[in-house]
Subunit: 166 residues, 2 copies
DNA sequence: CGAGAATAGTTGTTTCGACAACTATTTGCT
DNA sequence: AGCAAATAGTTGTCGAAACAACTATTCTCG
């Protein structure tokens, strides 16, 4: 099988995207660890719970939203539970399942750390782009996500907000 | 300090970018681990060496190109050395420094694993976009990198290829 | 309705990355 | 020259993620 190498233009885009992929997660992690003692992943777990009805989600649903395996999520949630930010209780309808709910302390944690996180996202991404580029980025990432996540599991909670383009 | 929250359009872009940030590294890692027994980071270390003159770079230079801390790189290079893919030797001009060079086996490893890696990048990113979007993505990531990496360390090896736009 | 398959989650082990502490060489300053 | 500071890298420790193995419910279908 012969390989179709990247053209000059494609390589330019990929090199830069790969750099962003390497740099941005670290930047987000650093800010959250410093200001909120939270990893980026832990923040997203809390954020997803904060947007769910009754601040509650089943482990499987939470795993899909955060692109985590169940083992990984289980460990993370246990640590968050140890810190009093979430609580777990068996699902009444299905005794195999576990529900995870944000505690009041967990909600305050999200409330306190969201501004700093948003400011970081603004500083390093949003404010670097023109409104037109924001739109282009949405379409580009949308196209890529159709390959990476055809079912749209990760963006499920947000689909209702912007049901515009197909 | 009051927070400027994201607009609907900005949120749409950010949610999708965050999802890509979470999904793409795992996809690249899986393919490389499966087909070449290499992590994405290890692959990039070897790739950077393969593009350097004489297949040799100092640890500090390699760390800058891969956005790694020196401790992290030191561990990774030791493992690659154990596997015979690179070799280390003291820099003649500066006895503090260490040079890392790709071995013939390391070069073959890059040669063998590059097609699969490029195919994955094509499948999940490049081929999902129009030529126009490739250009847009280059400009967008370029703008973001000016915030994340003003010195342009990570893309240093590629700067010569595309010295077009400022 | 009962046994095998599928689902939901937890726990344990090994590996990798972040951070801190340390050694060795070179540079800068007076 | 000589000593402090900076540079270059390694090593050790600890926390987190991948992977495999395991338990406990629920579904399916003969």
């Amino acid at each position: 099988m012969d390989t179709t190498w990247l053209t000059k233009e494609e390589l330019a885009a990929w090199v830069r995207l790969a750099a962003v992929l390497e740099l941005l997660p670290g930047t987000l992690d650093s800010q959250l660890r410093r200001d909120a003692e939270l990893t980026n992943f832990e923040y997203y777990v809390l954020a997803m719970l904060s947007e769910a009805t009754d601040n509650t989600l089943r482990m499987t649903a939470l795993a899909a939203l955060t692109n985590a395996t169940l083992p990984r999520l289980s460990h993370v949630v246990r640590r968050l539970e140890d810190r009093g930010l979430v609580e777990r209780f068996p699902c009444p309808e299905d005794h195999r399942a576990t529900n995870t709910r944000l505690t009041p302390a967990g909600w305050r944690k999200v409330e306190q750390s969201a501004p700093g996180h948003v400011a970081t996202v603004r500083k390093h991404v949003i404010d670097a782009l023109t409104p037109e580029q924001i739109g282009q980025l949405t379409e580009i990432t949308d196209a890529v996500l159709q390959r990476l996540d055809p079912a749209g599991k990760m963006t499920a909670l947000y689909r209702r907000h912007d049901a515009v383009e197909s």
